[in-house]
Structure formats: C-alpha cells, structure tokens
Amino acid sequence: MTTTDGTLSITVNGQHRRVTGGITIAELAAELGLVPEKVAVERNLEIVPRSTLAEVKVEDGDDFEIVTFVGGG
C-alpha cells in the first residue's frame, strides 16, 4: 500500500497511521512523543529489542504494539 507520496500505512496500538517512509522505530516513537526507555515495542507479533529500535526501519503494513507499565494487581 505504499503511496506515491512515499508515506507508509501502519497500525499503532490498533489505530491506523501514516508515517514518512524510511523512518526507524525510534523515530516513530519520538514522533508519538514516547520515551523509548519507558516502553516496549512489538512489531507483527515479534519483540523489537530496545537496543535495535534506532536501526530497524518501519515497513509499510507494520502492526505495532507499544506498551508500558501501569498500575495493576
């Protein structure tokens, strides 16, 4: 679904988004206002190690889950 304007169609936490082609997951996190040290990222059901977030590029059609710790029992 790559469009002629070079943007990518992805899903983040169940919501559809468009992002610039060629960005890394760390850049995506920054664009969402998130601090990578405080979250964990799953891409297409696979964990993306935090150490590689700045290297792995977002691909068209990627499905991301980005989670953090919240209160719970």
């Binding site: 936490n13 206002g33 964990a40 990222v41 935090r50 989670v67 953090t68 209160g71 719970g72 029992g73």
Partner: protein
C-alpha cells in the same frame, strides 16, 4: 545481638535467587491517585509491587506514568498478565514486560472467566512451561489445589500463588486446609494471592505457613488505604511470627491460667 534482633534478622525469604525482608507484595491498581498509591506502598513496607502491561496512550503521551511515582530502582516490579484468558496472550504480554523492564521475574495469571476470575489451570500450566523454557521466572497465580501446585512446581514455577478467595472479593481465606497442604508440599515459596479483605485474613495466610501474601484491593479500596497498608504490614509480620513461634494446641474445654494450688 539481643533476642529481638535475632528474631527480626533471621527471617528473610527468597524467590528465584532474590532475597527479600518484607513478605507483603502489593498491587498498584485501583488507587485514587499515583500519590496515594505511592504512600500506601511506602506504608506497607513492601519491596515487590505488581504492575500491569498496557498500551501506551498514543493520543496523550505526556500523562504521568506509574514509574514517575513508584521508582522501579527502589521496588521490584513484578509484571502481571491480568486480563489474559489464554496462554498465548499471557506469554505475549510477558515478553513485552521483559523488554520494557529487563528482568525475568514475572507474575503469571491466566484467567478462565470474567465472572469469577478463576484461573484456567490448563492454560496456566501450558504458559508456565513455555515461559520457563524462554528463561522467565514465573510466580504463578493458581487454584488452591495441592496437585495443581505440584504440577506448576514441576513445570518450573518459582513461586506458587494460590487464591484465598476470588480476586477483588475480600472474602478471606476460604479453604485453610488446601492452603496448608500446598505449603506442606511445596519446595518453592507459597504466597496467597487474592481474596484477602482485611488484616486478619493476611495473618491467617501467614499462620498457615505461607511465605508471603499478595494483595491489591484490600488496601486500595479501604476507606484509608495508607492506614490499611500499615495494618497489613503488621498483620503479615504478626502472622509470620506466630507461625514461627508455633501456636499452642487447641483444647475442647477450659484450662486455667492461674495455679490451682494455694487457693484460699
């Protein structure tokens, strides 16, 4: 060292190689505010807190985070799988938790149904096996069944955490016999997880020989959660001391405490 110091000093417990002094583990859900939550954790004396793993709020990323109030460097975060109804979902959640936190000690719970939040032991056992193979150290929420507890231990659970009563019910320890049987048969720590409503319930669990108690709602839904947290600290310590001291035998009838000899 005097006798009192000796009593205090000799009673730490350990799970998966980590040693702790407090035998009370508290949850971090249902509080009115992060401030109240942090104050209750402080008052409880807990060294381990349970936390949930949830999607970040993408629409408002600047909301305050639990980690800003309860420091993960000071407290051991025990990520849970609350809300997971299959082994697959629980495993997926804990893989994310391990990446977010960087540690292997986790709380596994796989629920069977929403009404009772009773554990699904078939899925729980399956998830335990997979997690252990992946290097996790799961403390496992389970039914108060001595056989299921044994099976979990054989599968590699680092702690057995039977329910005292349904999650959030506050009904207290419903079956003292099964909890005691689990304690007697276990080679890993046993903690009552769920069902505690008030201080005496926590003391009962400890008097049965449990290594600890995990609770959330009993503190968070008290009228004064901070005072209740302090009460639970005292109850867990009292119950533990009573267990170690060895209680008196029970009699069917009275036995006078004052000497019968020398009566006027």
């Amino acid at each position: 060292m005097n006798a009192m110091n000796e009593i205090e000093a000799s009673d730490s417990w350990s799970v998966a190689g980590q040693s702790f002094t407090s035998r009370l583990i508290v949850g971090t859900g249902k509080y009115k505010s992060f401030e109240q939550n942090a104050a209750a954790v402080e008052a409880s004396g807990a060294e381990i807190v349970t936390v949930a793993v949830r999607r970040v709020n993408v629409s408002d990323p600047n909301q305050p985070l639990l980690t800003d109030f309860i420091d993960p460097k000071r407290y051991t975060y025990l990520p849970n799988t609350a809300g997971c109804f299959t082994a697959e979902d629980a495993i997926r959640t804990l893989r994310l938790a391990r990446e977010a936190g960087g540690w292997e000690l986790v709380k596994l719970e796989v629920l069977g149904e929403a009404k009772t939040l009773y554990p699904d032991m078939r899925e729980t056992l399956k998830a335990t096996e997979v997690l252990v193979a992946e290097g996790f150290k799961p403390m496992v929420y389970c039914v108060d069944d001595p056989i299921a507890a044994k099976q979990l231990e054989e599968a590699g659970a680092v702690a057995i955490m039977p329910l005292g009563a349904p999650i959030g019910s506050g009904l207290g320890i419903q079956n003292r016999v099964t909890i005691r049987l689990i304690v007697e048969g276990a080679g890993v720590p046993v903690l009552v997880d769920a069902g505690v409503g008030t201080a005496s319930d926590a003391a009962v669990a400890m008097e049965l020989g449990c290594d600890g108690v995990l609770m959330n709602t009993a503190i968070a839904e008290a009228k004064d959660p901070i005072m209740m947290a302090r009460a639970m600290k005292a109850a867990v310590e009292s119950g533990r001391l009573a267990y170690r001291a060895g209680r008196m035998g029970q009699r069917r009838y009275a036995d006078p405490s004052s000497p019968l000899a020398g009566l006027i």
